[in-house]
């Protein structure tokens, strides 16, 4: 298997050769250029301590450690190129045909048409403006699924490697206004060989809205994990970057799309 770094460079070089700008209809021939559909990383099982516990697990505060089964996770976020291929095969997910129930009016709004991307240099940047429903459908089309929030956060936690750097990277991303998205793999891989978990886009998770982060995080009401400014009973009230991810997820509904909201897929190890 190639390293992710080489993959990214290869794809950038190939990207330069692509001259079609408008109405690029991707056929099976294009898969030769795209990142392999199954470029996934097998993460070993383990345990991590989530910032918030899932509702049904929010009983025993003493042991927050959450076991994670081994699972596969995409090395990169799903790209515009990959998503274009998907809607070509599954026209019900084209911008003009998607059901409003499954994606709001901003769905794929950065594309120039139903099956076209305005800028060729966006082909290998992460696809955004996708809903949870559409992201789930994409992963299903590959026989996969979205990662759970615990899996996603476990991958980011990277077995405790460079925790401060990860946090700083995320906070620094918040500190600059939205700009054009870089190609996937532009940053460096974490210890598992996974790219771009923070610093480029937000990502959908399977259970994005099942956590304790309420719409008012200072809620001290019936949800007994929340009081005192929404920070007590979290595992690390100093981790602002993590708060931001949970807040972001809890602001979403399944049909929402966002300019900086994309996804990657996962699947069980067995």
């Amino acid at each position: 298997m190639n390293t992710g770094c080489l993959q990214a460079n290869d794809r950038r070089i190939m990207n330069d050769r692509i001259v079609q700008l408008l109405l690029v209809l991707w056929t099976t021939a294009s898969t030769a250029f795209a990142a392999p559909v199954d470029d996934m990383v097998l993460l070993p099982g383990g345990a991590y301590t989530p910032l918030y516990l899932e509702n049904e697990k929010a009983v025993d505060l003493k042991d927050r450690s959450t076991p994670i089964e081994s699972f596969w996770l995409d090395r990169f976020p799903v790209t515009n190129r990959q998503y274009l291929e998907f809607v070509t095969k599954h026209p019900e997910w084209k911008r003009s045909q998607v059901k409003r129930l499954f994606a709001d009016t901003s769905y794929l709004q950065h594309w120039s048409g139903d099956s076209a991307i305005q800028q060729a240099n966006e082909l290998d940047s992460p696809v955004t403006n996708v809903s949870w429903f559409s992201a789930s459908a994409y992963c299903e089309s590959r026989g996969e699924r979205l990662p759970t929030t615990d899996e996603w956060e476990y991958a980011l936690a990277d077995n405790g490697r460079d925790a401060k750097e990860i946090q700083k990277h995320a906070l620094d991303w918040y500190a600059v206004p939205n700009a054009a998205l870089p190609n996937v793999g532009s940053g460096s891989a974490n210890g598992y060989g996974i790219y771009d978990l923070v610093g480029s886009i937000w990502e959908w998770t399977l259970d994005f809205n099942s956590f304790m982060a309420s719409s008012d995080p200072r809620d001290s009401g019936e949800k007994n994990l929340f009081c005192g400014g929404g920070s007590l009973n979290t595992s690390d009230p100093r981790d602002y970057a993590a708060f931001m991810r949970y807040s972001y997820r809890s602001s979403l509904l399944g049909s929402f799309t966002g300019k900086s909201l994309g996804f990657r897929c996962a699947k069980d190890a067995k």
Binding site: S106, A175, D216, P217, R238, M244, S247, Y248
Partner: protein, 478 residues
């Protein structure tokens, strides 16, 4: 009918007496809504116009959240998260009893989810529980303004402190039914603390420092979103004799402001943002993080008045400084300006103890000895100012050589050496306005030094005796 007449009576009483009773929140909840309007929103330091309506209405507020890069200080940029594009956020002005339909619009270019907690709202989260909004979406909720006052609003999305530290605060005024008194100027000033990764003054785009925020150690403390936002061309303006009402809020997230205007006394301060009870003649008023106050004063004297957080390193090192420029003619009675500047000589301590040449002071037996001994005293005590040849220093120290002032009056000379001299004197047609200290010298020493001076440099060759000194001198201290 009966109800109406009671109402009229209370209005009449209200105009002049203490019988004026504010509405309760229950009454405000029940007050009928008539008509509908869209709120006029303004950027600091300006306010929307006063409300003249005599009834409650439905007010529609559209507040758009924008995350954008802006100036924090000279050469220092920061990505602000704003309610309406600037820090502080748009000023909202409504009336007690109004029904507000609030639209929180989160711009699609934003990265973050946001919500709003208005301290003017009675309800869970002050609206925050109903307004968490993803980028590219808009939330709507409504509330009835049950309590009058000046309130702040802020974002309350986790981590709350970071959203607020990035500038997500503003103010909403709920005018009491009877309105506020008429003033010439109303201004909107809001303090906030900022936590940048780089130290104060470090140039370029500065990211937020989580650790400095948690430690409550801001690099910047500013009024209206940036250092210098109320300085120079952007200073608040008024004319002499006008009345000013400041709405001062503090977004924090952490520091309490000791708000003060240098050179002014607030005639009235409505503390804690209330609109019913003022305290008078206030120098400095405390504005807590997440709180506000109204300060009213008349400007009687022209000049530049400085707004500060009187926790002074914030003002002088971190940016919490603004200006109010008052134009008009000077009123010397109210304030004179500088009348004079003189050297201060505390009683007693200003007397110079002359250097003692020897412990055993010799006594002169004749004029020649007197001149010789006087030279030693002159060299020790007088030469630095009056110079070796007695020419003095133009504009500073008068000449002794050929001095009309000296030669005109021996007694005055004795008094000058023994008692000092201060103020304007004319010597050889030159004016001098300085100070000569009193010299702690004996009668013999003064006689000798004056005789030395009188017998040199073209002077009148008089002799001064210890007996004369004793008769005319200013007595030594102690």
């Amino acid at each position: 009918m009966k109800k109406i007449s009671v109402g009229i009576v209370s209005v009449i009483l209200c105009a002049s007496t203490v019988f004026c009773r504010a509405s309760t929140s229950d009454e405000n909840l029940k007050e009928k809504i008539e008509g509908q309007e869209t709120a006029v929103l303004t950027d600091a330091p300006h306010l929307p116009p006063p409300i003249t309506r005599k009834h409650a209405t439905k007010v529609i507020v559209h507040l758009e959240v924008r995350e954008l890069e802006g100036r924090l200080a000279d050469g220092v940029k920061y990505t602000f998260w704003t309610f309406g594009g600037k820090v502080p956020g748009k000023f909202i002005r409504i009336r007690e009893g109004d029904l507000v339909e609030f639209h929180l619009d989160n711009h699609p270019d934003n990265k973050m989810p946001h919500n709003i907690d208005l301290h003017a709202v009675t309800g869970p989260g002050g609206g925050a529980a109903s307004s968490l909004t993803a980028p590219g979406h808009s939330s709507v909720f409504s509330f009835k303004a049950l309590n009058p006052g000046i309130f702040i609003y802020h974002c309350a999305t986790a981590p709350v402190a970071m959203h607020v530290a990035n500038g997500m605060y503003g103010m909403i005024l709920v005018e009491p039914k009877k309105g506020l008194s008429k003033v010439d100027h109303e201004y909107y000033v809001m303090q906030g603390d900022f936590y940048t990764k780089g130290a104060n003054g470090e140039q370029g785009l500065q990211p937020f420092s989580m650790s400095k925020a948690i430690d409550e150690k801001p690099e910047y403390v500013v009024f209206n979103g940036s250092a210098g936002s109320l300085l120079g061309e952007n200073a608040l303006q008024a004319k002499k004799g006008e009345t000013i009402r400041l709405f001062i809020g503090n977004g924090g997230p952490n520091l309490t402001s000791s708000f003060h205007v240098i050179g002014e006394i607030f005639d009235s301060v409505y503390q804690e943002g209330n609109t019913s009870t003022a305290v008078h003649n206030v120098q400095t008023t405390m504005i807590p993080a997440g709180g506000a106050a109204i300060a009213e004063f008349k400007v009687n004297v022209p000049g530049t008045f400085i707004l500060v957080d009187h926790s002074l390193t914030r003002a002088f090192n971190k940016g919490a400084i603004g200006q109010l420029k008052v134009t008009g003619d000077e009123d010397k009675l109210a304030y004179s300006g500088k009348i004079s500047d003189e050297v201060y000589m505390p009683e007693g301590t200003g007397i110079r103890v002359a250097d003692q040449a020897q412990s055993q002071v010799p006594t002169a037996k004749n004029k020649a000895e007197r001149i010789a001994l006087g030279e030693t005293i002159y060299t020790s005590n007088c030469i630095a100012c009056h110079q070796p040849t007695g020419v003095g220093i133009p504009q500073a120290f008068p000449p002794l050589a050929g001095s009309d002032f000296l030669n005109a009056d021996k007694i005055r000379a004795i008094k000058t050496v023994s008692g000092g001299l201060q103020g304007s004197v004319t010597v050889n047609n030159q004016e001098f306005n300085g100070v000569m200290p009193a010299w702690n010298l004996t009668d013999e020493e003064i006689a000798n030094v004056l005789t030395y001076i009188y017998n040199n440099w073209g002077n009148s060759k008089l002799e001064v005796t210890p007996e004369e000194v004793n008769e005319y001198r200013v007595p030594p201290s102690k």
